[in-house]
Amino acid sequence: MISFWDIAQVFIGITTVFTILYFLGSRKREKHAEALVPFTSGEEYHPMRIPYRVKWIYYVALFSAYETAVIFTMLAITKGINLLIPILYIALLIISLILAPME
């Protein structure tokens, strides 16, 4: 039986390889005159943020939680397992989402 620490070790191995690979890439600190425009896309405008709803990330977190919760609940229903654990799990997810910082 594989333990959680074994899984963590595999993840560490993968992350190490990709971190090394990433830092092998070029950084080239000296820039050409043409490369000094503020945006990669070459548009000349001041840095700005459009009105953006941070709530999107909140919704995304909710839907990610939903995704895992749905499998958890469906499986518990099908197998006739006590629903207490999935209910507790979902309740914890909802509480953590309610407590998450809002806009």
């Binding site: 993968i14 990433y22 990669t40 995704e67 469906m74």
Partner: protein, 321 residues
């Protein structure tokens, strides 16, 4: 310690596997569109994705004013690592996956969903309007496809009464592939996975002709290389997940006669079929409008997913399945 080395070796293997997959997909799309596709680098252009990756890695990295450089360094590494990590739980090369843990399907679905959140974060930490709009568009897409996708993933788990991928694949060896019991679920999963990896017709987050690449527009050099690599590996992940959950993994006729190597051959054949479907759709369709995408998922796929779920639950409780 050896597990760290094992993970490192497999990361490289999956990276090259994803390059081959990208080459195959580009060739298929080119064939559909009556083009040649990658041709010059390596035999029949097979090394073109690797050449593209190396080219981007060697290019200058530009930090837009006001962007969060630290996050833009961490996110691409984490995205590639997570997309590779979730592949370890799916039996691709042999009947036993590299990693298996009770209810691992729940972990990997949660992890793959976090990749979507990272895409939105990438668009947000770059201060350009195009990337902000791209991230918001992807957010809309994300919450649209997640419900049908989650239900289509739950259906095999319900039928096999297990949330472990290995058990779901083994269930299909003793019975028929789950796509026979739940064809609608298979169809919904295919459509959702195209949206998950932002391929045509669901590429509203990138939309090159409208928002110049969306959340990717401010990325360059090794960051862009890593984001593209992570999208390739995620495409591989979604396709192999579809094969494992609905098409019976690598099991097929003559597997007992021709030996364990036949498992990988069958898996590759099924993977090719999934890729062929994705490529044909990508080749013949144009990008849908945002309202059309939302309409497809919320008006049609969500009710159909619930219908399929209802059919499966009724079949399960009445012992038809």
């Amino acid at each position: 310690m050896w597990l760290i080395v094992y993970g490192a070796v497999l990361a490289v293997v999956f990276m090259f596997f994803s390059f081959v997959l990208e080459w195959g997909e580009r060739k298929l799309v080119a064939k559909v569109q009556n083009r040649v596709g990658p041709y010059f680098t390596g035999p029949r252009g097979i090394l073109q994705p690797l050449a593209d990756f190396l080219k981007l890695m060697s290019k200058e990295e530009i930090n837009p004013i006001g962007s969060d450089s630290l996050l833009l360094t961490i996110i691409p590494i984490l995205m590639v690592s997570l997309s590779t990590f979730v592949l370890m739980f799916i039996p691709i090369f042999t009947p036993t996956p590299i990693l298996s843990y009770p209810a691992d399907l729940i972990y990997i679905i949660g992890l793959s969903a976090s990749i979507g959140a990272m895409i939105i974060l990438t668009g947000y930490v770059n201060p350009g309007p195009y990337s902000n709009i791209g991230a918001a568009r992807f957010g809309e897409l994300f919450i649209s496809f997640e419900i049908p996708f989650a239900i289509s993933v739950a259906i095999p788990a319900i039928l096999s009464e297990s949330a472990t991928i290995l058990d779901i694949v083994m269930f299909q060896t003793a019975n028929l592939p789950i796509m026979v019991y739940a064809p609608l679920g298979f169809l919904i999963m295919l459509i959702s996975l195209i949206a998950k990896v932002e391929r045509v017709p669901f590429d509203i987050g990138e939309a090159e002709t409208e928002i110049a690449g969306g959340w990717q527009v401010e990325l360059s050099g090794r960051r862009l290389a890593f984001y593209r690599l992570s999208m390739n590996i995620e495409t591989l992940f979604t396709a192999v997940l579809c094969v494992a959950l609905y098409m019976g993994g690598g099991y097929g006729p003559f597997i007992n006669v021709l030996g364990p190597a036949m498992y990988f051959v069958w898996f590759s054949v099924k993977l090719f079929i999934v890729l062929l479907i994705i490529s044909v759709i990508e080749g013949i369709m144009a990008r849908l409008r945002i309202d059309q995408v939302l309409s497809i998922f919320w008006r049609y796929l969500v009710p159909l997913a619930f219908l399929q779920l209802f059919i499966v639950l009724v079949g399960k409780f009445t012992l038809i399945f």
